[in-house]
Amino acid sequence: MERLPAGTVCTGKWTHRTVRIERMLGEGANGAVYLVSGKQGYAAMKLCNQSADAALEWNVLEKVSRTQSSFPGPICIDDWDWRGETLYFYLMEWISGESLEKLLPSLNPRDYLRVVEQIAAGLDTLHQAGMAFCDIKLENIMVMADAGLAVRFVDVGGVTPFGRSVRQFTPNSDRAFWNLGSRRSEPGYDICGLCLSLALAEVKSLPGHLYQWSPEERNRWLQRAIRTLPRRWTIPVLTDGMNGTITSAKEFLDDWRQGFLQTQARLAQVRRPPSPQQIRNRSRRNRPGGRQRQRQRRPRGQGASRTMDWTERLMWVSLTLAACMACVVWATLFGWSP
C-alpha cells in the first residue's frame, strides 16, 4: 500500500466523518497508522487493504476498552473509497510519547523500575479480562515523559484470548522461538515476552544466523547471554520470567520490586561511613607494610629478635665475596703477591 501524503483528506463512506492526514506514525504487515486531525482534534488512523484486518483489530479494541485503558480508546470504524480503491480504516485515540525502545538507554535506575512496574500493572489488568497482549515488544510500549512516565500500549494486532494460538508475534519476544514454551495465549506468554524484550534490549549483539539454529541452540545462547546483562539486579527476575518460574504479572511485579530494593540496600551499605571497628581492622591490615619500610631503613645488626632469611644471607655472602675479590685484584695490580 502506497504512503499517503500529508494533507490528504479522508471521508468515511458510512459515518461521513472527515479527517486530514498529518503524518505516518508506523507501518506494519497488514497496514499503516497515521496521525490525523479532525473537528474533535487529533486521532490515530489504522488503514488496511483488507477489511478483515481492520475489522478484527476493531473488535479487539472495543473488547479491551471495556475493562482497561492501557490501549487506545476506539472512536469509529469505516470504509474509504480513494482513487478507485476501497480502503478500510478505524480511528482511535492518539497516544503520544516515546517508545520504550528509544527511551530505554536514557532511563535512570529508578525510572526504569517504575516504567516496568507500570507495564506489569497494565498486563495484569489485561489478563484479568482473559486476554494476552502477545506481541509485546519495546516499540509497542509508549512512555509519556511529561505525564510522570505513564505507560500505554499500542498495536492490538496480537491481542488474543487465553487458550487460542497467538494471533501475531515477533520472533525475538516469542517464547516458542527460544524453546521456552508453546505459542498459545496465556499470562506466562506475556511475562516471557516482556522478559525477553527487556533482556535482549541490553544484550550487545544478536547472532547473525538465528534463523538457521534450532530452538534448543537459541535457548543455550540465550541462557549464556542473559548472565552478561549490565543491570545485574534484573538477571534473577528476568531469568525466572523467561524460564516460566514466574507465570503471572503480579508475581513478576513483586519479584521485580524485591530485586531492586535488595540491590539498593547493598549499595547503601557500601556507601555508609566506616565504623570505629572497621577503621581498627583496616589499620591492622596496614601494619606489615610499615614494618617492611622500617626494615630497610634500620642498619644491620639492630633488632636482636629479627631473623635473616636465606635470600638476605646469600646477598650478604655474595657481596662480601665480591668485595674480597675486588681487593685481591686491586692489590695484585699494585704489586702485592699472595
Binding site: 481492520a54 505459542r183 498459545r184
Partner: protein, 244 residues
Amino acid sequence: MMETKGTIRQILVITDGCSNVGGDPVEAAQRACKQGISVNVIGVVDKGETGLQGKEEALSIADAGGGMCRIVQPTDLSATAQMMTHQTMQSTLQDVVNQELLQLMGKGTEDLPPQERSRVIQVVDKLEETVTLQVVVAVDTSASMRDKLVTVREAIRDLALSLQAREGLSQVAVLVFPGSAEEMVGVVHPFENQLNMSLLEAMLIARGGTPTGPAIDEAIALFSRQRDVAGNSPWHADDPAVSE
C-alpha cells in the same frame, strides 16, 4: 471449498527457481484448486541473487491454485509461511461465509456496514482457530537450494509450532522435489501425529533439477490417501511439544 467435515487443505511450495522437469506446474495447481486445495508459493532468493528465476511462473502457479505468492529472503521464510497459511485460511473461510450470507440475505459481507461486518469476521476468526487444517509443504531440493535448506527446515518446524497451538486439529506433511535416487518426488514426512524432526534430515540433500509439477501432483495424492485412511488421528491441541 471445504469438505463436509470442515477441513482446510493447502499446499505450500517453497522454491528458488523455474521448474524444468516433468509436467506443467500451473496445470497441476489448477487440478489442486478444483479439488478444494489452495496452492501457495514462496520464492526464496539470497541477497546476492538478482531476482527469482521464474517469478512469472511462481505467480501463475499461485493464481491457478487460488493461493498467494511472495518472493522473500531466507530469514523471512518462517514469518511468510505462517502469514500465508493464515491469510489463505481466512480467505477460504470468508468465501464460505460470504456464500451463506448471499443465500440468506441476498448481500455479501462487503455490502454490510463495518460494525456488522466485524461481527461476521469474528465468526470467520473463530472458525479459523477450530477448523481442521492439513498442509503439505513441498520443498525444492534442487542443487541451487543447498545453502537455504537449513533455514527451510527451521521454518517448517516454526510453522508446526504455530499450528500445534491451535484449538483445531493440524496435520503437516513434507515432500521434497527431486527425491532421492532417480525419483522426481520424495515424501520425507507423511501426515502424522507429531512432527518428527529426524525425518526432515532427509530434506537437507540438494541436487538435481526442479520438478515442480510432479511435486504438486504428489501432494494432491497425499491428500487423497489421507482422506481414505481411517482412524489416523492428527495432532490435537493437547499433544506434547514438537519432538526431535
